[in-house]
Amino acid sequence: MIALFVTFFSAVVLLFLGLNKKESNYSIFAAISLFVSAGLSWACSANLISFGLLESWVPANMMSFGKEQHLFSALLAFIVGLIILMFRKNEFVGNDQLGLMMFSLCGAYMMVSYQHLVMLFLGIEVLSIPLFVLAGASKTNLASNEASLKYFLMGAFSTGIFLLGTAFIYGGTGSLELEMMGIKPSFMHAMQGMPLPVLINAGIVLMSVGLLFKVAAAPFHFWAPDVYEGSPNRTTLFMATVVKIAAFVAFYRFLNTFAGIADAWKGWISILGAMTILWGNLAALNQSSVKRTLAFSSIAHAGYLVMFLLMADGTNTWILWFYGLAYALASVLVFSIANQLSVSTGKNDFSAFNGLAKRSPFVGVALVIGVLSMAGIPVSAGFNAKFYLFSFAWQHMPWLVGLGLLGSAISVGYYFKFFKHAFMQESEDASPVLDRGLLLLLSALILLLGAMPWAVLNGIF
């Protein structure tokens, strides 16, 4: 709750600071307020401080603020802070856009802490509506326009499907509260021979489809590569990390409510997960654009995370948290390098990376660390995240874990393209201008989480 409060009011302050100024850029202020939100949230999760009065304003059946919710809020605020710091010198960074990004983050907070489907719906919309605008931030660029319109149409369409599911669940279970919703179907399931009402089944399917659109899982991912490619890089990164993590947490909490009738949804969701893993990885293999490759890689990562949904028993949320952190750190690192390279060379395909290791060895090493973490090679955060995820999922669905390992093996094929161009090709282009302090911080964090994850996880959970 405190994160929501701090982020919202700093976004309002940012908008006022930018009033009547055409070129205003208070990125540092935005980043600091986000890190403060993250810090306060973390302190709340560790019971160092508490904001009971503030939290008592929100009815307990609307939003809940437990340890888990505080930790996910802290994670999301931290990621957005990093994104804003990394892209602070980029074009299209005005106070209005920083404000929109922070309002969107408020929606993500709501999605991780909802207890009532009204709050989930509002969270999704508060998250999405600023993003429709941010996707079209580059106003005269036709690709950005297209991304914006496509994202808007897909977002509104998936909201409609999601809402129909909500209405069916309301009719079937008689409640919109997360805690009450699951009771009736679980009870009916426990009584042998009582089939689930069509309304509840259809409701679960439709709501899941709405959420699968948001996480870009196959076959509801078709919008993602286009939108990711056309949007400004900062927005793409926001969509690939924050939106995905928040939607997965929301999805997980929703499915966890129906853990009593897991047979009704486990089968088809695991098939969609398998499809997502294969589709994402195979399609990424023959892309020439860097952003499209990263978009398909983020689809593949969504596929791995579907495994997490299938072992929803309410105790393993730290796996999702850790995977989200590892994936976001690597994404921020790789995306920001790719962004700078495409700005300095004017190319959008892999040839922008040509000769990077020779031009600027430091950035080359950071790229290696980021890409290895995305691919899940040992001594990187990504490896540990995948290791925990796969080893816990093994007991539940070994075949899906096998597919996940196959997918990871395929993914090395396209991650290797980065190395091929950075180390084996020559180029005359100028070296990119990047913030070395931040690159060092991100690389160090990835290696730290790779070398001794327990030092971090024990401190937090």
């Binding site: 489907l117 009204v118 719906f121 509002l122 919309e125 509506i129 429709f132 605008v133 079209g136 106003k139 005269t140 036709l142 690709a143 326009n145 297209e146 991304a147 914006s148 319109l149 496509k150 808007f152 149409l153 509104a156 369409f157 909201t159 409609g160 499907i161 809402l163 129909l164 909500t166 209405a167 069916f168 309301y170 009719g171 008689g174 409640s175 919109l176 309304l199 590569p225 286009d226 490619e229 056309g230 399609a283 023959n286 892309q287 654009s289 499209r292």
Partner: protein
């Protein structure tokens, strides 16, 4: 006989069928029409079908939650339509078209 009784004589299943049909009309409209304005109207139709269903359930169960939800859906739909039309104006300025067939610039 009051008007409320007439409503209650219609079975809930009829409301479910009606809403589902309305929703399906909106859904197919989104899938098959090419004009962005029509797409927006079809999305509104989908949301209004949901509103109708929520109200019907709410009335049959004697629970106010569903009707409150409808207000939220209306507010959000209005905000969404505002942003959507703004995006459409942006696109129109650059392409002089409201047809979504220009949406094929980005290809892998």
């Amino acid at each position: 006989m009051s008007i409320l009784n007439i409503f209650n004589q219609v079975e809930i299943s009829h409301y479910i069928y009606l809403s589902t049909v309305l929703f399906a009309i909106g859904l197919f409209g989104v899938l098959f029409r090419r004009n962005a304005i029509i797409l927006l109207m079809c999305i509104e139709l989908m949301l209004n079908a949901v509103n109708l269903l929520f109200t019907a359930f709410s009335s049959y169960m004697g629970d106010a939650d569903g009707q409150i939800f409808v207000f939220f859906i209306m507010v959000v739909a209005a905000a969404e339509a505002a942003v959507g039309l703004a995006i459409l104006v942006l696109v129109y300025r650059n392409t002089r078209k409201t047809d979504v067939s220009f949406l094929d610039q980005l290809k892998g």
